[in-house]
Symmetry: D2
Subunit: 174 residues, 4 copies
């Protein structure tokens, strides 16, 4: 499924007009979190920061999506801003727009069940993986690398088929 | 030094009229924290919770002291309340009263340098230890137990001297 | 470089006639260890076991290579056998054959500098990566997955070039 | 119960004529381990080393007791010697003397059920605590400190009661 565009009320570490679609062409790893969720602080955010350090920025983009579905009054933009500074989060963080009920709108569009959730979106914008809770670093490393390699593969296959389909010297090889 | 009374604007998990002096007679362990301080979340609060579970409540009281000296707008009572719920903090937490500068009043009275800090106050209200940053559990366990044992010792010594001084009416009081 | 064949005096969890070449066609992850090396016990062996659990056995083979270069009398086959049982190591473990000096023969052939070392060999037997000490799980997961994907890619490219090479003698079979 | 004297076949980091009784007057913490027991390597030995670093050597003695009850051929003195070097164990380690069955003799005398076990013996040689498996550092710190303080207390109480007992038969000797 094509990953739905984020519906945001705010962005940190990015222009307020930022969009998920801006990152098309890269593997996009989205750390879905709430700033007062213990599992997010202990596992989710540190893993996202490791991914950001490990993979080249021109191949993998790490984004945060702040999905507040409880304690709304406690997790305001002012608080989130302080949180991002204190935990040294430097990747772009989108604030999911409030919905009609507890659940914010992007969270609803993705049918997420809680935080932390980790979404992996491929270079064409397809949602490829969705993990809830603590996840294995080996597995996440493998999933990201598989998407990077598949894309390279696609490019190479394209290259090959270009060559293959190259009509040269009066001959058409396709 | 006698541990200064807390100057508070609020208490959680306790009556708003609570005072440090209410815990006289027990060893009092005070976890000084800010809710958005990473070291507090990773080390300070979990250690305080372990102490609370390990030692009998009639001998050791664990208290929190929320000392906000940065990001004041982000760490309001509403936010702290959500934090305490999410991190399952059930011990009483005093909110240090704002001062004239950044530093809140109790923090200034104790001349604390940052968070997390761990204070250990004996049964008579004397400040016995003051640790900044991550601390050894072996050491904290030893410090608390030493105060418990010294007090028991003092009681026993009192008992003995009472007995000894039981000589009255012209008899030997030693 | 083509990964040199192991020179072994023994194998555990495998037939004694086992060879590295038997695993051609899979990504081969080799945990080079000494049973009394703290870093091997704390990091190397547990990582190898996680890799064994994470990746399908028909794509990734995990092997141990026991390279004794110190305390030779203490790390005999009898001791190693007990170690493998106690630490629940179920992957095949080759015992590197003693050399003329301290260094065993396979360790010398690979020019390894110590333990734990992690070798990653691709499906064609080429040594692709060589890590000394504690390594990032994200990175190892990525490296293994890249080799799996590249191989799949190679297969697909082969398929394409076969198709492409179907054009012969001025005829195009595609 | 008075802690039974160790029945040993060997000592490391101590004279071969060493005895448990040599450490009378100090709190004695005994780490009972087998060199190939995972829980001993991951938890038991590191905790013993922390205790050794934390408490003054004139108050607390840390000893190891190597109790081999399985894989006897794998855990010989030669292997243990290498293990102690590799894991930087500098406290005295007694090798429990083989028994008639699997169980060595001191292990049988103490009726230990497995490794790691942690024994705490007071200054008079009384066995005060006996823990099997992973233990809380807070608790161990508290138990050791309680014995240190009780001893100090006893000394002080003795002083007081000597004084007090100076008054007999209507006479006051003080």
């Amino acid at each position: 499924m094509l990953a739905p565009e984020f519906i945001t009320s705010d962005w940190f570490n990015a222009d307020n007009a930022a969009k998920l679609a801006d990152y098309r062409g890269k593997v996009v790893v989205v750390e879905v979190f709430q700033m007062l969720c213990p599992g997010c602080i202990l596992h989710g955010i540190p893993l996202a920061q490791k991914i950001q350090r490990m993979f080249p920025a021109d191949q993998v983009a790490v984004l945060g999506l702040h999905c507040v579905f409880e304690h709304h009054a406690a997790m305001t933009p002012v608080s989130l801003n302080a949180f991002l500074q204190e935990f040294q989060v430097t990747f772009p963080v989108a604030v999911d727009a409030a919905g009609e009920g507890c659940m914010p709108q992007t969270m609803e569009a993705y049918q997420l069940r809680g935080t932390p959730s980790l979404l992996i979106i491929d270079q064409k914008g397809e949602l490829q993986a969705h993990h809830l809770g603590q996840v294995s670093e080996l597995q996440i490393g493998a999933e990201i690398a598989t998407l990077i390699a598949s894309d390279r593969n696609a490019l190479r296959a394209d290259a090959i088929s270009e060559t293959a389909s190259g009509c040269e010297f009066g001959r058409c090889t396709v």
